[in-house]
Symmetry: C2
Subunit: 134 residues, 2 copies
DNA sequence: ATCGGATTGCAATGCAATTGCAGCGCGCCT
DNA sequence: AGGCGCGCTGCAATTGCATTGCAATCCGAT
């Protein structure tokens, strides 16, 4: 099955829980918070979901965004993603509907860092109104 | 006095506390957290410092960064700053010394947002090693 | 069948941000 | 000069999210 393959491809041992979480995430159109994810399940322990996301993140299956709402949001990575700075896309947080979107093809040019600064990761968050709310 | 003028220019009524905070901030070379600021004073209430920063921020005397450490950092705005997206500069968080720098002249081009998305603010955080730590 | 490491669930903790309330100071009005 | 009101300050307490410890459970390998 496709979901299981995705886990294996990232060296994550597939468990029932993880498959369910991955399934949910793949249905999500926006980046979701831990609470959002919990709400998508009838009964699932929040900490387990938390750790599942952490595992996914460690293996680069999902990436996280701090969109300024105080709670971290998570979204699936693209298949080719290695979460290197050049892989990073921007995120857009709508201050009206409170959704956070992955702007997959909004990449940020990385040039002219000050001398001797070494870049490992980057995060770009835009805020405003999304297409539905503007 | 110069500090007092700065407050007045931003329509902030100058108080002893605020002058002290502004003085401290102007000495800081990096963006600082509430805890950092508190540590710079012998005895000052954290909540007062918190509210002072909030006031400064509302009046665009300081801007804030969420650098991913979990605690918000604050730094003085440039004189001309209105905190509009085009005023925004990037921030660099060194994962080794844990300092967060304002990259005053690292601006981010804002082009090609998806249709009907309206941009109000933006935040760009780079992570890696600073010049001292690399 | 058994063993051991990984996974899950539940309880509890840590920490930063935020709010409520009381006291205080300072300017303003009479 | 006295009194009022508003904003500022300090202290106590609460909220909410992230994170950890521990016990129970599952699953694959021997």
């Amino acid at each position: 099955m496709k979901l299981e393959e995705a886990l294996l491809a990232r060296n994550i041992t597939p468990t029932a829980m993880r498959l369910l979480v991955l399934d949910e995430l793949s249905k999500m159109k926006t980046a979701v918070s831990l609470n959002d994810l919990e709400a998508a399940f009838d009964r699932a322990d929040k900490v387990t979901l938390y750790r599942t996301l952490k595992t996914f993140q460690k293996h680069k299956l999902v990436h996280s965004v701090e969109d300024g709402t105080g709670s971290v949001k998570y979204a699936l990575c693209q298949e080719s993603c290695e979460c290197r700075p050049e892989d990073v896309h921007a995120h857009f947080h709508c201050t009206r509907c409170n959704e956070t979107f992955c702007l997959q093809d909004y990449h940020v040019p990385i040039d002219s860092l000050p001398r001797k600064f070494v870049l490992h990761e980057m995060s770009v968050v835009l805020r405003g109104l999304c297409d539905h709310c503007s």
